[in-house]
Each structure stands twice: as structure tokens, then as C-alpha cells.
């Protein structure tokens, strides 16, 4: 059976190896370049005492968690997008056709009437393809994690979608699940194009749902509170934290993401906020700082919820667990369809 799987899928295996090779030849020099640039900058910034601003200076743009694409050896953003699309591509080109093509050409009737049980046939196919996917996606994730070292050090929030989804163990399970979902849908629908369409929609919806709605709740976020003063909250938040929410709280405990949305302002603070009638306090017109002071005195404060960096690997494991669980479901359904349904 191993012979047949290799025979049927060697082109795919070779294509995956080539893609991996191309990625490695791109990622390794770029990653090395970033890391050397960073190390050089570290040695010089100590003299000028500017190491704090390193992240914003080093690659001209510190606003994004992404490394700047205008760098020599750039095009990094496109590569990042491709890596992000990898599970989708694997599901389309490796997963869906695996069994759907056999149904499509009728060759399932040929191979299911050899002297090998259908269960063994399916097990061999699934093992080879899913293990190959895991190895391939694993190598990809290792390379991506390695080349992102500079970015991870400079821009500390590792929970950012463009990092969390590309590094560590979670992306390996995305790929394995995508392929198993593709196999299951292809088997179920027996039609390659329809199965690809549905797979893409399901996968995208799942990634968005998990990333945006489930991931922030893998563990109860930590909370910090601070006075209304500008920057007071940021000063208390660890710089490498994933801030899940920021809110203002009034004297009654009412919560809002913006102070002006809180309904029950004390009249004297209200007066300060009204620019036209703003009173003059000790020689200058009342400004935002005076409003902040007024609100603080009235019992207002700000609060933020965040996930600390030390939870990163835990979150990776939880997400990997979710996707592996879904993989088990897809594989079990595939077994059921192949073994129990009429050919």
C-alpha cells in the first residue's frame, strides 16, 4: 500500500519539498540579515542611550508588528500572506482530491476490490498524507518562528494574529486540520470543485471565529486599573502583553470604552469639557489634563484586561488542541463514509 500511495502522490510530496526549499532559501538569509542588523544596532545604541527607541528606529517603521517590507530583501509581507494561506492551499491541492478523485474517476472501485481491506487502504492513505502535511507545515513553522526572532524581540506582543497564526505549533495543526477537512469534504461530496469551495468557506470562518472570539478567552485575562491620566494605563501594562480590552469606569461602576460615552458626568467636569465656556484655572484655559484630574477626583478610573506573554505557549497548546480535536472528527467521518457508505 505504501508503494501505491507513493506512486499516486509522489508529485505532491516533491512539490511540497520544493516549496519548502524555496521558503528556506528566502527565509534564512532574510532572517539572518534582520538578526545581524539588530545586533549591530544594539551595540551602537548603548553609546547614544537610544536602545528604548530601537524598535521604531531600526526598520524605519515600528508602527506595525510586521517587519518593514521596504527593507533590502523585502517582500516579507507577501511571504507572510503566503504562509498564512498555506493551510488553505494544502487543503485544496492535497486534501480534497485525495479520495474525491478516486470517486470521480471510478478508480475507488478498482482499488477497493484488490485483496486489501478498505480500512487498510484508507489508513495508509491518511497516515502518509497527514504525517507528510505535519512534517511540511512543521518545518514551515520552525522556519517562520526562527526568522521572526528579531521581530518577536522588538515588537513584543506575540499574540498578534500575524505572529500567533504563523509561529509555534498552532499553524502545524491548522494545516493538518485543513487537509483532513479537505479529505472529508471531498469524500463526502465526491466532487472536487464543490468540496474546495465549501472547505475554503468553512476554514476561513473557523480561523476568524477561533482567532477573534475564542482565543482571548483561553484563560481569564488579568486586569489592571489606573487613574484617568493620559498614559497611566499603558505605564501599568507590561509592554509585551496582549491587551484584550480597555475601558473607562465611572463612580457608579458603569463601563465604557470611551469616557464621553459614560452617561453621568459630574457637572463641574462637564463644564471643563465644554470648550467654549471652559473656565480659566491658575492662568491657563482648562485642558484635557484638567478634565482628567476632575474625573479622577470624582471617582473615575480606567481599566484594561490583558493576556501576559508567559501564557503564549499555553495558548498555542490550547489552540493546537482545538484543531487536533477537529482533525480527529474529520478523520472519523472520513472512515465512516469510506467504510459504511455504498461505493
Amino acid at each position: 500500500m505504501n508503494w501505491l500511495v507513493w506512486r499516486q502522490h509522489r508529485k505532491q510530496f516533491i512539490a511540497l519539498a520544493i516549496i519548502l526549499g524555496v521558503y528556506a532559501t528566502l527565509a534564512i538569509p532574510i532572517g539572518l540579515h534582520f538578526w545581524r542588523t539588530y545586533q549591530q544596532a544594539l551595540t551602537t545604541c548603548g553609546r547614544t542611550n537610544t536602545c528604548d527607541q530601537l524598535s521604531s528606529m531600526l526598520f524605519q517603521s515600528g508602527s506595525d508588528s510586521n517587519l518593514n517590507p521596504s527593507l533590502p530583501g523585502g517582500g516579507v509581507n507577501i511571504v507572510v500572506l503566503l504562509v498564512l494561506a498555506l493551510p488553505f492551499l494544502l487543503g485544496m491541492f492535497v486534501g480534497v482530491p485525495l479520495i474525491a478523485r478516486e470517486y470521480d474517476k471510478g478508480t475507488n472501485l478498482l482499488v477497493w476490490t484488490r485483496s486489501i481491506s478498505r480500512r487498510r487502504w484508507l489508513t495508509a492513505k491518511l497516515l502518509w498524507i497527514l504525517v507528510a502535511t505535519a512534517v511540511f507545515a512543521g518545518a514551515f513553522a520552525v522556519l517562520t518562528t526562527w526568522w521572526s526572532k528579531t521581530g518577536n524581540t522588538l515588537y513584543a506582543n506575540r499574540f498578534d494574529t500575524l505572529k500567533f497564526d504563523l509561529q509555534g505549533i498552532a499553524p502545524v495543526t491548522y494545516a493538518v486540520f485543513a487537509v483532513s477537512l479537505g479529505i472529508m469534504l471531498g469524500t463526502w461530496l465526491k466532487r472536487i470543485m464543490v468540496a474546495i469551495g465549501i472547505m475554503l468557506v468553512v476554514l476561513l470562518a473557523l480561523q476568524i471565529t477561533v482567532g477573534a472570539f475564542l482565543r482571548p478567552h483561553y484563560a481569564t485575562p488579568l486586569t489592571v486599573t489606573a487613574s484617568i491620566t493620559q498614559g497611566a494605563l499603558d505605564a501599568k501594562l507590561p509592554s509585551d502583553a496582549w491587551v484584550v480590552s480597555r475601558n473607562f469606569v465611572d463612580q457608579h461602576g458603569t463601563v465604557s470604552s470611551h469616557p464621553f460615552d459614560l452617561p453621568d458626568w459630574p457637572p463641574r467636569c462637564q463644564a471643563l469639557a465644554n470648550q467654549d465656556q471652559a473656565p480659566v484655572i491658575s492662568g491657563h484655559k482648562a485642558g484635557p489634563a484638567d478634565i482628567d484630574n476632575c474625573l479622577t477626583a470624582a471617582g473615575y478610573h480606567q481599566t484594561a484586561k490583558y493576556q501576559p506573554r508567559y501564557r503564549y505557549w499555553n495558548f498555542q497548546r490550547i489552540e493546537a488542541g482545538i484543531y487536533l480535536g477537529l482533525t480527529v472528527l474529520a478523520v472519523a467521518t472520513t472512515y465512516w463514509l469510506v467504510l459504511k457508505r455504498d461505493a
Binding site: K105, T107, T113, S115, D342
Partner: protein, 300 residues
């Protein structure tokens, strides 16, 4: 289990076998017995359930009613069962990118009793290019590759689903000759069931016949016996046609004579002197049954 199967003389026995898709019965009340070593033609109009029956026998689909016993076993997906059965599906599915040689290699890897020498010598004799992808072979060559793949398994039962339907007359004759040769070579160790709607072809190689029509078994017997028990009666017009001695399968009237195709209920049946008894050929008999089943279907 093999021993028990070897002792019996029955290759296939189906009892009230049926397959339903939704509310539609693709095969219903199928009762057949296929003796070991026979070459059986499975005939019937399109949609009579021939493909369904063959798929049930190799567990590519599971029955909705009744049961089948094949070589003493219930059809299943185990290696032990499948290694006894050669199956050639309709339209002869093969991996079109793979060469003939690689198909044989597949057999060598996946089949327990694979006889590579047999397959190679069969295909070489037919001058089939071993190194060519099967997608580039002619229909007749593909059919021969399919047959070689099924036969090199060394099966005890060979199930062929419309293997010659898409072939030109010459390729058809060649295929059937190969098949007949294989059956002869096996010396009674091989049972063959072949479905087709081309009656003339089947007469060439088959000694038994199963007729499925309107989803039911109409005939299941040796061809010899079918011919012995069916007669064509020709007699005067306007005379009562029914008799306890036979059942009428088909009745036609010309200007001044009546033609009856009948199944004799009594071996010693003697017609009255005004009726002439002729032998019927298998094609006429099968057609008469198919027409009868169609009429009954229409009336329902």
C-alpha cells in the same frame, strides 16, 4: 471457512436480495443460484439492477433486504474475502496516468495470490504496450488490462460488469475469446458472472443465464435447460391459447396465425395437431421475458 465453501457446489446464492435508494428499489426480491464453475450471463434492460447486484456481491454496497452468500461467505471488505473475487467495474476504471506495467505492480503489491507471470503473458500475447499510460490505450486494450488485473488475482469468482459494452465488434470478440480461454484454463475452478445487454455475445461464452427485469429475477437457469423448457407455438388464429401445459410469455397475432412463446410446465406436453411446436433461441426467449416485464411495469 474455505473448506466448507470448497465442498459446496454453489458459488453464489442470493435470497430475496434487495437494494433500495430512497423509495426506489434498484433491485428487489432477487433469488439466484449460480453453480461453481459456470459462466453465467447476467442480462436485463438498463436499470434492471445488474450493476447493483454485482456491487452487492463484492460489498461495494450493502443490501437493504435479503442476503447473499458468495463462496460460502457473506460479502465483506476483508482481505480474505476480496482475494477470492475478481471484479471488473463498468467502464473499466484504471489509473489513466499509470502505465500498464505499474498497474501490474499495483496488483503485485495489493493482491495476495497475484500471478504476475499470468498477467504479463496474457497482455504480451495481445501485444499491449506495457510501458504506455493506460489513458492512451484503446478501449479494447483497456478492457484487456482490466481483465488481466482481475484474473491475475487468481480469483474463484470473477464478476464482470458490462465489460464489452463500449467496445467495437472486433475488440468485443477478442475480449470474449480471452474470457472463454481463461475459464477453460481454470478447469472448473473459476466461476464467471458477466452482465451485458448484448445477448448475442453472451451465447458465445455462457452456459448459464440470469435475467433481471423490472428489478426482479425473471430467469435463473442453465441455458440448455431454458431452451429445453421454452417453445414457440404456431397455430390458427381465433383459438383459445391458454393451456395448463404451459405459461404464455409472449403472444403475437398475424393475419391468420397466432404465435406463442411459452414456458412448458409439463415436460411431456403435447400440443394439439393444429399447433406446430418449434424450438426458440435464447435471444427470443430473453426478449419475450423483457417485453413481458416491461408491460407489467407499464400496467403498474
Amino acid at each position: 471457512m474455505d473448506n466448507v465453501a470448497a465442498k459446496t457446489t454453489t458459488a453464489i446464492q442470493a435470497t430475496d436480495l434487495g437494494k433500495r435508494y430512497g423509495s426506489f428499489w434498484a433491485l428487489k426480491d432477487c433469488n439466484i443460484v449460480v453453480p461453481r464453475g459456470s459462466v453465467t450471463a447476467l442480462v436485463g434492460p438498463n436499470g434492471a439492477g445488474k450493476t447493483t447486484l454485482l456491487k452487492l456481491l463484492v460489498d461495494l454496497s450493502s443490501p437493504s433486504a435479503g442476503s447473499a452468500t458468495v463462496l460460502g461467505m457473506t460479502p465483506n471488505q476483508s482481505s480474505g474475502y476480496l482475494s477470492e473475487i475478481g471484479y471488473l467495474a463498468q467502464e473499466i476504471p484504471l489509473y489513466s496516468q499509470m502505465t500498464v506495467e505499474k498497474h501490474l505492480a499495483m496488483g503485485a503489491h495489493l493482491d495476495t495470490n497475484w500471478d504476475n507471470g499470468l498477467a504479463v503473458s496474457r497482455l504480451k500475447e495481445l501485444k499491449i504496450p506495457m510501458g504506455r499510460p493506460v489513458g492512451k490505450l484503446s478501449g479494447g486494450q483497456r478492457a484487456q488490462v482490466g481483465l488481466a488485473l482481475a484474473l491475475a488475482k487468481k480469483p474463484k469468482l470473477l464478476l464482470l460488469d458490462e465489460p464489452v459494452a463500449a467496445l467495437d465488434p472486433l475488440a468485443r470478440v477478442e475480449f470474449l475469446t480471452s474470457l472463454a480461454q481463461a475459464a477453460t484454463d481454470a478447469g472448473g475452478e473459476l466461476t464467471v458472472v458477466m452482465s451485458s445487454h448484448l445477448l448475442a455475445d453472451l451465447e458465445r461464452v455462457c452456459d448459464h443465464l440470469i435475467l433481471l427485469a423490472a428489478g426482479e429475477t425473471q430467469l435463473c437457469d442453465s441455458i440448455e435447460h431454458i431452451i429445453a423448457t421454452h417453445k414457440l407455438l404456431v397455430g390458427p388464429r381465433n383459438e383459445a391459447t391458454s393451456s395448463p401445459g404451459y405459461s404464455i410469455i409472449k403472444e403475437t397475432h398475424a393475419v391468420n396465425e397466432t404465435n406463442l412463446l411459452v414456458r412448458l410446465n409439463d415436460k411431456n406436453f403435447r400440443s394439439s395437431s393444429r399447433w406446430h411446436v418449434h424450438d426458440a433461441n435464447i435471444e427470443d426467449i430473453v426478449l419475450a421475458y423483457m417485453e413481458q416485464a416491461k408491460q407489467e411495469g407499464d400496467e403498474r
